[in-house]
């Protein structure tokens, strides 16, 4: 059972700002940025001030606060630093929620249940040392549940959800804990559904009938199942595998066969770690003289054994091998996941591009018939003032 720990740090920019200037620690603090020509609060130490509030209004609520400009670069640097610090505990650390309220997921592998609390405290301590604030930590075997547990947990008291108990743990909690649309929560409340448990008692079909895809997602979430793929970008150490021969080998076929087996083994490891190789290095130790090595960075990372084998053989052929070989070593540097999920899940981007072409083509002849409907004043009391229909502007 793989355990996931999620570390939740509320008001991350505030924590960073206070870490960097300790004299700010005891005064309320507002971090601001300019937005539409107005100073707007990005983060605040006082819960009465919500991000997005205009500065002059925030000052009314929190008159004695210090005001400083927000420096996102500083946050990014701190976040990078923090990820590295947590990365020494686990090879896989993923950012689930960006600032202001940061959630970092840490894949803990298979720790014994008795060690969980200790690990949570260890994580919290790492964060405290870096940032000076104690984060709340949630542990579960599913990332979303772990994230929710972290949101519920109090600082210093990790919340642990045992496998199989997710639904029971979620049941008494209010619906708005789930990462779902506020409008959906409101509609559910209209049906008299207020706790997550109330939702799990409904059949999935009914939810889907009422709310469509969102209902299906809600059903899964309410049972503590992750509706979305969870990817942990691996900042992991390289994989190394080698073969030492009984005696010096000169036969290229023997070497090739050995490489093929290594490739298979490494592919298996990669598969197990859920990774692909980005850079391959092959080094050979000749009977006499210094070792020789060749490496290659891949344009497209690979995890397929056949492809790895082909690549390694190509490297072997490229090496100027004049002597008998005593051993060979293959080092694979795994790839970090560069593309975001959004990009991978967006086949409609190309469709949209095609559609845009079609619209442009049609615009010449039928342009006037395409309208854009906008909710100009969604809260207008006279219904006709709510919507504006206008010709769709051509791009």
């Amino acid at each position: 059972m793989t355990w996931i720990a999620v570390v939740h740090i509320a008001s991350f920019p505030i924590a960073v700002a206070r870490r960097d200037s300790p004299h700010r620690a005891h005064r309320p603090l507002l971090l601001i940025a300019e937005h539409d020509g107005q100073a707007v609060v990005v983060a605040a130490s006082d819960p009465a001030v919500t991000p997005g509030l205009a500065l002059h209004r925030a000052r009314l609520r929190c008159p004695d606060a210090l005001v400083h400009p927000h420096e996102p670069e500083r946050d990014q640097a701190a976040l990078f630093d923090l990820r590295a610090a947590l990365g020494t505990l686990s090879p896989r650390v993923a950012l689930l929620a960006p600032p202001p309220d940061v959630a970092l997921a840490v894949d803990l592998g298979h720790p014994g249940a008795s060690h969980l609390t200790q690990i949570a405290h260890l994580l919290a301590e790492r964060v405290r040392r870096r940032l000076g604030v104690v984060p709340s930590v949630g542990l579960a075997t599913r990332p979303t549940v772990a994230q929710l547990a972290a949101r519920v947990a109090t600082a210093g008291e990790p919340e642990i959800v045992s496998p199989g108990m997710e639904a029971a743990w979620l049941a008494p909690r209010p619906l708005d804990l789930l990462p779902i649309d506020e409008a959906l929560v409101w509609r559910l409340q209209q049906f008299g559904l207020r706790t997550i448990g109330a939702v799990t008692r409904l059949p999935c079909d009914a939810l889907e009938a009422q709310f469509g895809r969102a209902g299906r997602m809600l059903f899964e979430l309410a049972h503590g199942r992750d509706p979305l793929p969870f990817a942990a970008p691996p900042d992991t150490p390289p994989l190394v595998a080698g073969r030492r021969f009984a005696g010096p080998v000169t036969d290229a076929h023997v070497l090739a066969a050995a490489l093929a087996r290594l490739a298979e083994r490494l592919a298996h490891h990669l598969l197990h770690r859920g990774q692909a190789a980005r850079r391959l290095t092959l080094s050979l130790t000749p009977a006499h003289g210094p070792p020789v090595a060749a490496s290659r960075t891949l344009a497209e990372p690979a995890s397929d054994p056949a492809r790895l084998q082909a690549l390694l053989l190509a490297l072997l052929r490229g090496l100027d091998l004049r002597d008998a070989c005593e051993s060979l070593t293959v080092t694979l540097e795994p790839a970090a996941l560069m593309a975001t999920q959004h990009e991978l899940f967006a086949p409609e981007v190309t469709h949209a591009a095609r559609l845009e072409q079609t619209l442009t083509r049609l615009a010449a002849k039928h342009g006037a018939q395409f309208l854009r409907a906008t909710l100009a004043r969604p809260d207008a009391r006279c219904l006709e003032q709510r919507v504006r229909l206008a010709r769709r502007e051509e791009r």
Binding site: R381, C382, L383, E384
Partner: protein, 84 residues
């Protein structure tokens, strides 16, 4: 089709003593009102064009769901929306 008339379709409405609709005539067809689901009053915009309207969401005897309003200043009734 849910149909929406931005400026209201002129209709004729018969009311009871409490100014609640009892029958709606749309293009000559008289539809008795079975139930008033919701009613509300809007009185705003006095500084530009005052909108003083009594809105009624009603279900007719034939089961149609309508949204109509009485423009108090002109005394006219309008059909705003036919739900479908």
């Amino acid at each position: 089709m849910t149909r929406f008339w931005p400026h209201g379709l002129p209709i004729e409405v018969t009311c009871d003593a409490l100014a609640t609709p009892v029958a709606v005539s749309i293009q000559g067809r008289r539809l008795p009102v079975a139930r008033v689901v919701e009613r509300w009053r809007v009185d705003e915009g006095w500084w530009r064009r005052r909108a003083w309207r009594e809105y009624f969401q009603v279900i007719t005897a034939g089961g149609q769901l309508l949204l109509l309003y009485h423009d108090v200043r002109s005394g006219l009734w309008r059909l705003q929306r036919l739900y479908d």
